[in-house]
């Protein structure tokens, strides 16, 4: 019945905004990954809020304008919630943006992980160049591959030089093209969130054409990363240790830890302005979503099996992330982005000052 009404609403050009109680601002166009996630979460939260939630898409370059718009013009509206994703976290570190996570309260966030696979004929530690899809969304993977292929004890400049010799950073590749190129064997490696990994990469592994390579681990409250129970034994740090008999301690590793934490640690998040009177109500609804099997199933279908960090736990998680920002890590990240990946990045000393 609901589907019929949706169809009819579309046909009549009916808009639900007039009857909505809450607005979720999504910084991308309809159909994007975070947009679909927000729609699922909003649908589940509506059941427990007993109020209507509409999704407002504010599109723009690298999903920054939507977040900026909410930060500057909308966050004081008690009924407006911001939906952010990992890409916003990466932009926060090395692009000029208005938004600042320190100024918000977390309704809840999902602390996810990204899994990387490689083709069977690929040498993960040395050998010929590893081809991998480029893009600001793949920065943590690019650094991890560099660390794994170049080994321990190098300076940032040496790692940059090694990256250029050992990694083919293939530009101009979108998500679908990346998956396709990996399936066809044109790329040596690819990465996905757990749900997408099962759908797109696992079939290639099952055919014996590829294998698991590494994952980034799951950020803990103390700032370390733990192994992923969904894919145990292949955390980047463990593989590095196994290959080099030493832990990955370098400026580049600090930059890696910083950027992977900001991308995966706040992969999907809901924010309100500090002091929002509806925060408790929203948090209560999200807690229901996180504990009701039917709702858990709906959300996990999109992102895989990961826990929510709700309310104060989300704030604490954000604070943990902020502590990872050090001048060295940030400078190295900006340098590596500019010189190895060729991605325009800016160093923001204000981030270090405010943490």
């Amino acid at each position: 019945m609901l589907k019929i009404l949706t169809t009819l609403a579309m046909l009549l050009g009916f808009t639900t905004s007039a009857v909505a109680d809450y607005t979720f601002v999504v910084p991308q166009k309809p159909g994007g990954g975070t947009s679909v996630w927000a729609q699922i979460v909003a649908t589940e939260m509506e059941k427990y809020l007993d109020e209507k939630i509409i999704i407002k898409h504010i599109q723009g370059a690298r999903d920054i304008p939507g977040f900026n718009k909410w930060h500057n013009d909308m966050r004081d509206d008690d009924k407006v919630v911001m939906v952010s994703h990992g890409g916003n976290g990466v932009s926060f570190l090395n692009e000029k943006v208005d938004y600042d996570y320190n100024e918000y309260d977390s309704v809840g966030l999902m602390n996810l992980n990204i899994i990387v696979a490689s083709r069977k004929d690929h040498n993960p530690y040395g050998g010929k160049k590893t081809s991998f899809a480029a893009g600001s969304g793949q920065i943590p993977e690019g650094i991890a591959i560099t660390l794994l292929k170049c080994g321990a004890g190098l300076t940032t400049e040496q790692y940059i030089d090694c990256f250029k010799r050992r990694v083919s950073w293939i530009k101009g590749m979108k998500g679908g093209q990346r998956r396709l190129a990996f399936k066809r064997g044109e790329l040596d490696g690819t990465r996905e969130n757990p749900a997408a990994f099962k759908k797109h990469v696992q079939p290639v592994i099952d055919k014996g054409l590829a294998g698991l390579w590494f994952h980034h681990g799951i950020l803990q409250a103390d700032g370390t990363h733990a192994d992923d129970p969904n894919y145990p034994g292949i955390q980047m740090e463990d593989l590095f240790y196994a290959a080099n008999r030493t832990k990955p301690e370098s400026d580049l590793y600090a930059a890696y830890k910083l950027v992977k934490s900001f991308r995966d640690g706040m992969q999907k998040a809901l924010w309100v302005a500090k002091g929002n009177p509806n925060k408790a109500k929203l948090i209560a609804a999200l807690e229901k979503v996180a504990t009701t099997p039917e709702s858990i199933k709906a959300v996990q279908k999109k992102v895989g099996q990961y826990d929510w960090l709700i309310g104060k736990a989300g704030d604490a998680h954000r604070d943990t992330l902020m502590k990872l920002i050090t001048p060295e890590a940030l400078k190295t990240l900006v340098t590596f982005n500019n010189e190895a990946f060729g991605i325009k990045a800016v160093y923001k000393d204000t981030l270090v000052a405010q943490k």
């Binding site: 949706t6 169809t7 159909g31 101009g172 991605i343």
Partner: protein
Amino acid sequence: MIEMIAALLGGVFYGLIIGIIPAAGATTGLIALFGFISYFVHEPYLGVIFLMAVVAASTTGDSFTAILLGIPGANSAAATMVDGFPLAQQGRAGYAISAAVTTSTVNGLIWGCLVFLLLPWYTNLILILGIPELWAFTVLALATVGFLSNKYWFRTILAIAFGIFIGLVGVNPENNEPRFTLGWFYLEDGVQIMAVAAGLFAIPELVKGLFTKTSTATGEIRKGELVAGMKAVWENRWLALRGGFIGAFIGLLPGLGGQMADWLAYGSAVAANPKEKFGNGNIKGVIGPEGANNSQKATSMITTVIFGIPGAKFAAILMSLFMYLNIELGTPDIAEDKELFTSMTFGFLGATVIVALICMFLIKPICKIASVPYKYYFPVLLALIIFTSMQYTGGWEDLAMLAIFSCLGFFCKHFMFSRPAMLIGYILADKVEGFTLQLLGIYTWETLITRPIFMVLIVCIIGILIFSITRKGRIDYA
């Protein structure tokens, strides 16, 4: 199932109306849907059914205005008009419409079945062809648009180049830096398709419709004319099927559109009947081109779905609308998405049948709709297009972009710069750039020359260039 039927009927209703409205058609109808498509985000496959139904229904519906008013609902019905309108002036509108609808339906069903039922099998190609072949195929699409579709080929090349330039506005994928944005942050996410499509096509066509003088033929339907029209199709069945085949072939060539298929089919009908007069109401002049436009719509979906390379301008818009439903054509997700194929098949074939029944049984009221003066449709359509164009940010920038591209659309229309070529260039720009970067990053010349399909496509591209430079007659088409 009820929801699917509701989406199907909704698409048929909307598509038929948009097809009947003079100067509208599938492209304008699809452009106007950008403002509403997000309502289907929860149920994307209902959205797919709706969109496919719009395509199928508008393609059949545009015959009405071509025959009754002497102006095509869309460019693709222009060839039908040549003999269809004189027939209507002679009081034989029912005969012409019946023949047109019957031919459209038969070819729509034949080619719809061949395309949509076998589409899952065709998608295996996506895993066989690699980046070099996709790059070559994209360039082939641009070459066919640039050199085969238009006698003003130099202007068409300029149009493609400008389309590519528009498509490259935004952020450079090599370094994440703004490119061609003139310092305007609004443009860093690229030029949005709503403004480009609405400005280039919808606005100029709507305005043109306002100033087009029509000499409405009588919409009177004589007794027995409908059956006579169907009989005429049966008597000229090979002509109808040949038209369908021509349309299907043109649809398969990436980037070419409906009007070329229709005129080729019309030309074929004329050539096959050298002793007969055309242009004064010869039913064969209706049956030939009408066979082509529905089959062309069906087959142009093959390259669109498998490679993400639009087979025609309507397909370019459709591809963007699918993106709003989180369905990215030309990716591996497609091969595994059985529900997508089911929905496309159901939408296209279901709409083809339903619209035929509606056209036959409700021919009188439809003729009345077609005869409503255009000035009543114009403000509604204009409001819809403006609303659609403001779905990106809702700000003045959206309106400014619509105004800029509308001016460009009028300019191109007046000076015969191919607007479909510009749109295809715009749509394919990121593919051309992306595949080129990928090609250069992964392959070397030594590895490329060992790939036979790549080499065949390169030979085809060179062949098209030589053929078009040496050929004299081309289709007058902008």
